[in-house]
Symmetry: C2
Subunit: 249 residues, 2 copies
DNA sequence: CGAACTTTTGACAAGCATCAACACGTGTGG
DNA sequence: CCACACGTGTTGATGCTTGTCAAAAGTTCG
């Protein structure tokens, strides 16, 4: 394992640790995991629906997303992932993938054999517990997305997505609060919000016209956070910020 | 603890065990958990959004559902729970509830102090792991629901819900495959599918007219499973049946 | 037997989808 | 260096799915 690979593992471990303190042995166990780092192109698949999982994958850099395809061929994006996320813990434990995971941008992932992840979770309860918490927060985000596509109108859905991205990126230290690069096309935003690309375009224009955001290429600037959060009916509670450490980075 | 309480705990443990074998000590630890059994009326709350969790709750009998309220007051149902489900594992670990859990029908729940659940998960890795699996399957169902409300049309959404219920009830041994009691009003089905009650009514009529189902009060009979599953774009994969034991009951 | 809830029906409105065309930026190969 | 293809964003016209409102009919339960 090279030093840089070591560094990235440390990084994701810090993320695990945010949720629950790990002992020295726990940390050693994490660092001792056999990993292989892989560079991926935009659009390349990390996991395909119905795959039998061999590896568990930590996103080191770049963005990824999970999605499913329904009967008529329409695609639904289920979540967006930022560096540090364990993108398929479920696969390591459930065995058969129930959705796809694909790179949104170019990036690096660390692959860990599923068996090794299971063993470490089983032998080091604190690590297993950190993974459980990670999974529970994921679940909370899924629930919010059900409410988002189920019960909010188009403008709110888009605003909500923009708010979530802003908060998560800022919490991860990857970006400022009011300005970030959104690596999604409007078609992908449509698939995440259950809308059509055309209508997403109109909603973004509406948010721009009302002075809530401005955009330049794929970078988004939030000009009025309070109103954008109100438009998106957004609250951070479902991201469970109370579990994040206060430590500056 | 009375014998009958013992019996119900055994029951939910068998459910945990379906996903991962437990040793004798593990089982003893589960049976040793301090529980208090409570009878609940239809509509009574088990957990309220933003509550600080004191207890973790196993549904012993009756049905429950999770839901959230969005800005304009609309309600989104996030999942339905059947006897044996651990209805708020997330609360025991995350601390602050991010949604409501409410009884759909009258029923019994077993309350276990959150701290005790955490301790047992931490001290008995096999139990922690069973809980992780439970949580991961929950997550898979949430993802399917995102796709359901996000990308399927009204008729498919309703058909999908009916299919999921049939399969889960049958797997739990609570009901036959083709006929079950659906304890939800059409308004609740609407809140689960992101539709209005009026439109749910029309979709159910459409499914009846086409000979896929028939209803009598709140009991549903599936007259043509293949077509209903096709209409609902339903596949059991997301319920991860591969994790269920084959043991007859 | 009556009150409260749920299901059903109809007329109408609206939000979002669909389709098609155009504009714009980027990269690529001739 | 230009021409061109390609992906993405934008616009407009039109239509369908679903929502809204209101009232009637059926059901449940005290």
């Amino acid at each position: 394992m090279t030093d840089s690979q070591d560094a990235v593992l440390w990084n994701s471990m810090r993320k695990l640790e945010k949720r629950f303190p790990l002992s020295t042995e726990d940390k050693a166990a994490v660092l001792g995991l056999p990993i292989s780092v892989k560079n991926l192109e935009p659009g390349s698949y990390i996991v395909r629906d119905a795959d039998i999982a061999q590896n568990c994958c930590v996103l080191l850099s770049g963005f990824a997303y999970r999605h499913k395809t329904v009967g008529d061929g329409a695609r639904q994006i289920l979540s967006i992932h930022i560096p540090g996320d364990m993108v398929d813990l479920h696969n390591a434990f459930l065995g058969i993938a129930d959705h796809n995971v694909q790179m949104l941008t170019a990036g690096q992932v660390a692959l860990i054999p599923a068996k090794a992840v299971q063993d470490v979770a089983y032998s080091y309860p604190a690590i297993g517990r950190a993974m459980l918490l990670e999974t529970l927060v994921d679940g909370s985000i899924f629930r919010e997305w059900i409410a988002n596509v189920g019960r909010r109108d188009a403008r709110s859905r888009v605003a909500h997505l923009l708010c979530e991205f802003a908060v998560r990126l800022q919490a991860s230290g990857k970006s400022e609060a009011r300005n970030y690069r959104l690596p999604m096309s409007q078609e992908q935003i449509a698939d995440a919000t259950g809308l059509t690309p055309v209508h997403v375009n109109r909603m973004i224009q509406s948010l721009r016209r009302d002075g809530l955001i401005s955009t330049d290429k794929r970078s988004v600037t939030i000009d009025n956070w309070a109103e954008l959060a109100a438009a998106g009916d957004f609250s951070t509670a479902y991201l469970h910020p109370e579990l994040a450490e206060g430590e500056p980075r």
